[in-house]
């Protein structure tokens, strides 16, 4: 919607009837504004305007604008459709069975809306003509503001204090703390060690005796055994060693495979 550039205190000059058709729609603040302007040109009290004539003028105006291929905002077209409907209701006598509002009621509604808009405009201009602050009436030019002097009362509880102390002592400790590295044998690691330990020995030797040096701590036992066993299976698959177990849960023996000898 275009904003009206016209100073609305200026009552627009009354144009001759034929001039009406040449007014640009852009000068209006919406369809109601246009209707109000058209109504004013009837030079009568809004209560006494001919709504039918008004509707016809509006429709003619919109028609002219559209013939000039000027883009008309949807608001104006909605109003045009409504006025066309109003016109038809006013011209055709109402049937008794008709539940729709009568043409007279619709016309009264339109008059009411026009009167209300005009009243609001008059109210706005009355408001602006009042002695306004900063225009006719003035406030204190040298205000003496209230000076606020702020003093802070600090609050802390003994708990806060102790928590702060304990917190930072603990912080100091954690900087020295180094997490215990759990030894985990990787498969590659276990395989390298087995290769190294078996060497060129073709004797059956139990796996545990190879690894006894590495089973020193109970914590490492499981990972050493698991990784070594898995690696030994891999070495068997590659045909590098033989593996033998005489009984269930018995010791696992291994030796360098003969065929593997260079």
């Amino acid at each position: 919607m275009t904003t009206a550039q016209t100073d609305w205190f200026d009552t627009p000059a009354e144009p001759a009837a034929e001039d009406v058709m040449y007014v640009d729609v852009g000068g209006y603040e919406g369809p109601l504004d246009l209707l109000l302007d058209l109504a004013r040109r009837q030079k009568v009290d809004l209560a006494a305007i001919s709504v039918l004539a008004l509707a016809e003028q509006y429709l003619a105006f919109i028609e002219t604008v559209r013939e000039k291929r000027i883009e008309v905002a949807a608001d104006y077209l909605v109003m045009a459709a409504w006025l066309a409907y109003l016109k038809s209701r006013l011209m055709v006598p109402q049937a008794p069975s008709d539940d729709e509002p009568s043409g007279e009621m619709l016309a009264a509604m339109l008059q009411f809306r026009l009167k209300r808009l005009e009243a609001m405009r008059r109210a706005a201009s009355q408001l602006m003509n009042r002695p306004r602050l900063g225009y006719q009436v003035y406030a204190r030019g040298m205000p003496e503001p209230i000076e606020i002097k702020r003093t802070s009362l600090w609050e802390a509880s003994l708990y806060d204090l102790l928590k702060a102390y304990a917190g930072q002592r603990e912080r100091g400790i954690t900087t020295d703390y180094s997490p215990i590295q759990r030894t985990v044998w990787s498969l590659q690691e276990a395989r390298d060690i087995l290769q190294r330990l078996i060497g060129d020995s073709f004797e059956w030797v139990s796996m545990d005796s190879y690894l006894v040096d590495y089973l020193a701590t109970p914590a490492e036992r499981a990972t050493v055994r698991a990784s070594s066993f898995a690696s030994s299976l891999e070495l068997v698959r590659l045909g590098q060693i033989d593996l033998r177990q005489t009984e269930t849960f018995g010791p696992l023996f291994m030796r360098r495979r003969k065929a593997d000898r260079p």
């Binding site: 009206a4 603040e29 002695p131 003035y138 406030a139």
Partner: protein, 219 residues
């Protein structure tokens, strides 16, 4: 005159001096309650303010009431002397003026209601501009589908336009009498519009806590 009434008038004079000092010092209107905190219990603040108002009635500076607040302002008839040229007079757009007067006369009013009166969509910029000027505020939310925000005027609005209360709006009675303020009703149905102050109406809910300015509007 008895000693008692002497004492009394001495206290009244002291109170009046305090009120003068406070109201003179401030460029913003002050409300009676905060003034009372400077006087101590038992002071009849309402009567004191009226006394002060009467004293200044003929002076070049008058004590005026703006809603619940009071302020010294230069006398209206001397405005011609004081016109400040340096003031930047940015006239309000026609859309803003109309929107302001519709809110003033129809409050609490939703945006849809403003648009219904103007017959055209009201840009958000217009409402924002009036909010920024400090003349309108969000009052609450209408208890209808969509819970639209309702707008009303502020005390700064009263102050700017020199109104004591909303019922001082020019032509208000006439407009009410002709039914023009009664929303969507046909012209022959006249329903007087209640013009209460800041309190929410039956069909208004308070603003949501996260509405802008929702807190300031609780006072």
């Amino acid at each position: 005159m008895s000693a008692l009434s002497d004492d009394h008038s001495e206290i009244v004079e002291r109170h009046l001096r305090v009120l003068e000092a406070l109201l003179f010092a401030s460029s913003e209107p002050l409300d009676a309650n905060s003034l009372l905190t400077y006087l101590g219990e038992g002071a009849n603040i309402g009567e004191l303010l009226l006394t002060l108002q009467a004293r200044y009635a003929d002076r070049g500076v008058n004590l005026v009431r703006r809603g619940d607040r009071w302020a010294f302002r230069t006398a209206e008839d001397l405005g011609f002397l004081l016109r400040r040229d340096e003031q930047e007079n940015r006239p309000l757009s026609r859309a803003a003026l109309e929107t302001l007067s519709i809110i003033a006369y129809h409050q609490p009013a939703t945006r849809a209601e403003i648009e219904e009166v103007r017959g055209v969509a009201t840009g958000k910029g217009t409402i924002d501009l009036l909010m920024e000027a400090g003349w309108i505020r969000m009052r609450g939310r209408r208890r209808t589908p969509g819970r639209p925000v309702t707008y009303g005027t502020t005390e700064a609005f009263l102050d700017h336009f020199g109104l004591e209360t909303l019922s001082d709006l020019p032509g208000l009675d006439e407009l009410k009498g002709s039914g023009l303020l009664s929303g969507r009703l046909p012209p022959n149905l006249q329903i007087p519009l209640p013009f209460d102050g800041a309190a929410l109406r039956d069909d208004e809910d308070p603003l949501d806590p996260d509405d802008p300015g929702g807190d300031e509007d609780q006072d």
